[in-house]
């Protein structure tokens, strides 16, 4: 590889540590790449070039001290990354791709951001997303359109669309997104990169703008599994500011994967409910081939069943919208949003601010969520959904008695055309049909590239693990990667 922006995180990290390259060189390469490619893909809502150069120089000073007593470098020191615009960044505008937050400049960093800064990562900028993370295509951004680098008339997937495109287009070596129902895994699959949604509570949500609090989880994307592992281990772990974060030791994922990961003796579960009618033939063929490859590498394949899968989408759209309707109440015009100054009293101000500040999908979900929590409907919807959620969780517990990892397609099809589903919310919601259950059950899930369809678009293999067993997912993914070339195939940014 000649271009620095095409390096994987682990390779860049090695070269930085050995002083073959500087962080400033690497950062300039990414900034130059952003300059060239951004007009085509539109990943970034804001490029923080000045901050990035400053952080890169800081990183180079830290790297120069490597081996001395004051050495404080990490594997991420000097690595240029970018963040979904859902993470609060001190003094850097954070919009959640919503008009209602278009002028919001946070006074503090999200815990994830603070940990990345401490590790010495370089922040290239803030990435486009579906407004308030509500969407599967990134088309619900109130700010701009983001295009799939593999085929520019296709969506990148959502909601963390910019997080996937910036890695696929080599604008950044890695990125962070959030995943509430598939928002990391789906764009990772559509853009042909590795993305992991950790166990609920594995990574702090403090300073991450909430969509659905019981489902939201932060995770990384990178061109390789090892790169994603390095990003994850930097941010994971208990945070006293997030009561739902889990107090469990964080393994050295990258170290544990090692140079020769194996899947020998690993039991991989295949849930029949995930290979059903409507699944694209190319997708099914690629995923089955990947599973066959894992079997060749020594894994055992077992059939498992997740019988409540068919209720997942309905359950998700009750739980997620209910929580969202409450989480978004604070954007009421008192402190966020525009005011014309002509509002007639309080109610009018609320109405005007929210009418102008929120996009159609956000309004749709607020209404849905408000409805399912309303007096007289709570038992029929929310309460019932919570019971089904328990059943879905139990499905996985039972399946994991027979296997160590579950393998499925990440999405029923590859990236669809821009505009093709915007008028049909229900069809859009079905994009997440294979990823949603993982969030409802709070489990770790991952998507890695496993092929291209006949149109040349990437296909994602989803791996689902036991609670807090990200390591097995990463190890399985790395073993697969080592045996194939899919993660090295790059998008060409063609129309």
């Amino acid at each position: 590889m000649s271009r620095l922006d095409e390096l994987s995180i682990e390779e860049a990290s090695r070269r930085l540590a050995s002083r073959e390259i500087s962080s400033r060189e690497l950062t300039e390469a990414c900034l130059a790449r952003i300059e060239v490619t951004e007009p085509k893909v539109g990943s970034f809502l804001e490029v923080t070039a000045q901050l990035a150069r400053q952080q890169a120089d800081d990183a180079d000073r830290r790297l120069a001290a490597t081996g001395t007593r004051t050495s404080d470098t990490t594997a991420l020191t000097g690595i240029p990354i970018a963040l979904k615009d859902i993470f609060l960044t001190k003094d850097v505008r954070t919009t959640c791709a919503s008009r209602i937050l278009e002028n919001f400049i946070p006074t503090f960093d999200a815990t994830v951001v603070a940990r990345l800064r401490r590790a010495g990562a370089v922040l290239l900028g803030k990435l486009n997303m579906d407004e308030f993370a509500m969407g599967s295509s990134c088309e619900n951004s109130a700010m701009q359109l983001t295009r799939n680098p593999w085929k520019l008339d296709r969506v990148p997937g959502g909601s963390s669309g910019g997080s996937a495109t910036c890695v696929a287009a080599h604008q950044a070596l890695g990125s962070f997104g959030t995943d509430t129902g598939g928002s990391i895994r789906l764009p990772a699959a559509f853009c042909g990169v590795a993305g992991i949604k950790p166990t609920y509570g594995r990574v702090s949500r403090y300073g991450v703008i909430a969509f659905a609090s019981s489902l939201d989880q932060v995770g990384p994307m990178a061109s390789t599994t090892r790169g994603a592992a390095l990003l994850l281990q930097t941010v994971a772990g208990k945070d006293p500011l997030d009561s739902t974060s889990i107090d469990a030791p964080v393994p050295d994922y990258a170290g544990a994967i090692g140079t020769a990961p194996t899947v020998k003796g690993l039991r991989i579960g295949i849930p029949r409910e995930y290979f059903v009618e409507g699944l694209d033939a190319d997708v099914e063929a690629a995923v089955r081939a990947a599973i066959g490859k894992l079997q060749d590498l020594g894994a055992t394949i077992v059939e498992v069943t997740l019988p409540h899968t068919e209720y997942a989408v309905a359950t998700y759209y009750i739980v997620a919208t209910a929580e969202a309707s409450s989480n978004l109440g604070r954007y009421d015009g008192v402190r966020y949003g525009r005011r014309r100054g002509e509002e007639q009293g309080l109610r009018d101000m609320y109405g005007e601010s929210r009418e102008q500040g929120f996009g159609a999908e956000v309004k749709r979900r607020i209404m849905l969520g408000t409805y399912v929590l309303s007096a007289g409907y709570y038992d029929a919807y929310y309460s019932k959904a919570m019971r089904v959620r328990t059943l879905i969780r139990r499905d996985f517990e039972q399946a994991f008695e027979r296997c160590d990892v579950i393998a499925t397609p990440t999405a029923p099809a590859t990236a669809f055309e821009i505009g093709s589903r915007t008028d049909d919310p229900l069809k859009m919601y079905l994009s997440d049909i294979l990823t949603i259950s993982v969030n409802l059950a709070g489990l770790p899930g991952m998507s890695i590239p496993c092929g291209l369809d006949s149109a040349g678009l990437p296909i994602g293999l989803q791996l689902i693990g036991k609670p807090l067993d990200e390591l097995t997912l990463l190890r399985t993914a790395a073993a697969y990667e080592d045996s194939c070339h899919w993660h090295r195939v790059s998008a060409e940014l063609k129309p």
Partner: protein, 490 residues
């Protein structure tokens, strides 16, 4: 309203009242962030990203607030639920920055308690439905600016207990006495300052009437904004008459929320049942369920101070006081502490109790705000009262002179011994001096002496009075009695 009042007074209706008491916990910091929970800072000084509800922030429970809440549960014999949940109560208002309040709804941390209080010598017991924890909202200021309303979020996130009683109170006086007991309890427990004028303690009352003997409840009105004992009594009295008049006129009570207007002395309709908020409660996903295990309860129990009922019993047995006096003295922790400080300085509990229940309480009530007894404003310390009683007990002054000394203590705050010395009020015990006065009184009243000797015994008091007057009240009364008897009967 007179017809209604008389029907009511004749006992036609029975009043049914349930109170929801909101009590601010005196923790150092707020319920879900580290900001100070203290009252009285400049607007929005006690705020941070969490209580300002900035995007992305999350609550972290203040365990000290739970310690306090457990004390309240133990003091009211409530059943503590090992597992309880936080819930979101959603509504829009500018002083509610998250647009929801974190509270407890379906699973409060405790239930099924009871509180006993005394009213006119009769003991009443009221059962508690539940107590739960929640956070307070901020404050909207509507009159500071011509065209803007201002918001102060210092109070947003301050921990509250909501104590919900069963509808077992039967009059405004009972409601007020219950509230007094509740305030006494939280002050005893050290979990709240109980200051109603600062809003640390306030209540809503659910009031309904029913025909005496009926077993079902009538339609109720919820009265809000009751922030003094007087408001509770007046608002309930008003509401009883209003409802009685409607019912006697053949009308029906509308279930609604009414606001007490203390200036006009009326309750006004705020919103009807149809207009009532739909709070869309659901479990708070940002907090784990609250687990209060036995170890936590036992630790709180071991830290529990002596409670009013126990202290009252101790006053009866240790100090030999009457149940009534013990009840008065233990009604507030401050008063009971004051009494015990005095006893520590001079061991005559009965005399001290008499002085406190008569004289000291009168002074404290005069100096306190409406319906409040304020010991911090007293010009003298318990040690001063103890010194005064000691002066009586060792014969330095008479009980009569002591009253004079007491009023001078109230005026000046001086030590009673200093007052006695300065004013020359030391009791005359020199029998020679008293005999001289007796002699002069007898000599000056020969006619009365004759009457007395002829059998008019009642005149003895006259002679005592004359001698005391001559001595300016300083003569030892026992000596006066004895010497007069010897002189007149001898």
């Amino acid at each position: 309203m007179s017809a209604a009042r008389s029907y009511y007074q004749e006992g036609g209706f029975e009043t049914v009242i349930g109170l929801e008491v909101h009590c601010q916990l005196a923790t150092a910091s707020k319920l879900f962030c580290g900001c100070s929970a203290a009252f009285g800072a400049g607007a929005n000084e006690h705020t941070c990203p969490v209580c300002l509800a900035m995007p992305g922030v999350l609550p972290v429970l203040n365990r000290c607030a739970v310690d306090y809440a457990i004390r309240a549960a133990l003091a009211t014999d409530s059943t503590i639920n090992t597992n309880s949940r936080w819930a979101r109560k959603n509504y829009f208002y500018p002083d509610l920055p998250k647009a929801y309040q974190i509270t407890q709804y379906e699973q409060p941390y405790c239930e099924h308690g009871r509180v006993t209080f005394d009213l006119d010598g009769t003991e009443h017991t009221v059962r508690l439905t539940r107590i739960h924890m929640e956070e307070d909202a901020g404050k909207s200021v509507h009159d500071a600016h011509a065209s803007w309303s201002l918001v102060d979020l210092n109070r947003a996130g301050v921990p509250l207990l909501e104590i919900v009683s069963e509808p077992e109170l039967r009059s405004g006086a009972e409601a007020s006495a219950y509230m007094r007991k509740m305030r006494s309890l939280v002050r005893y427990l050290g979990i709240s300052d109980g200051n109603m004028n600062e809003g640390s303690m306030r209540c809503d009352a659910n009031v309904s009437l029913r025909k005496r003997g009926a077993t079902t409840l009538g339609t109720r009105a919820e009265i809000k904004n009751l922030n003094s004992f007087r408001s509770i009594e007046r608002a309930i009295a008003y509401e009883i008459e209003r409802q009685a008049e409607i019912l006697l006129g053949g009308g029906a009570i509308v279930q609604e929320t009414r606001l007490w207007d203390a200036d006009r002395g009326v309750t006004r309709s705020m919103r009807s049942k149809e207009e009532a908020h739909d709070y869309r409660y659901f479990p708070e996903p940002d907090l784990l369920p609250l687990v209060i295990d036995d170890a936590w309860i036992e630790r709180a129990r071991s830290e529990l101070p002596e409670l009013p009922d126990a202290r009252r019993g101790r006053f009866v047995t240790s100090y030999g006081l009457s149940g009534y006096d013990s009840g008065v003295l233990t009604a507030s922790k401050e008063l009971a502490d004051w009494f015990e400080a005095a006893v520590a300085a001079h061991d005559n509990p009965k005399a001290l109790a008499n002085w406190i229940t008569s004289e000291v309480l009168r002074i404290a009530n005069e100096s306190g705000a409406e319906g409040e007894t304020d010991f911090s404003q007293l010009p003298f310390a318990p040690e001063h009262l103890a010194a005064l009683v000691r002066l009586i007990d060792d014969g330095t002054i008479s009980g009569k002179i002591a009253k004079t000394v007491f009023s001078k203590m109230v005026e000046s705050g001086d030590d009673p011994a200093a007052i006695v010395a300065r004013e020359g009020l030391v009791q005359v015990t020199d029998e020679g001096a008293i005999t001289a006065i007796v002699d002069s009184v007898v000599a000056a009243n020969t006619a009365k002496v004759a009457e007395y000797k002829s059998g008019k015994d009642k005149l003895f008091g006259f002679f005592v009075g004359q001698v005391m007057k001559e001595s300016q009240g300083k003569a030892n009364p026992a000596s006066v009695n004895r010497l007069l008897k010897e002189r007149l009967d001898g």
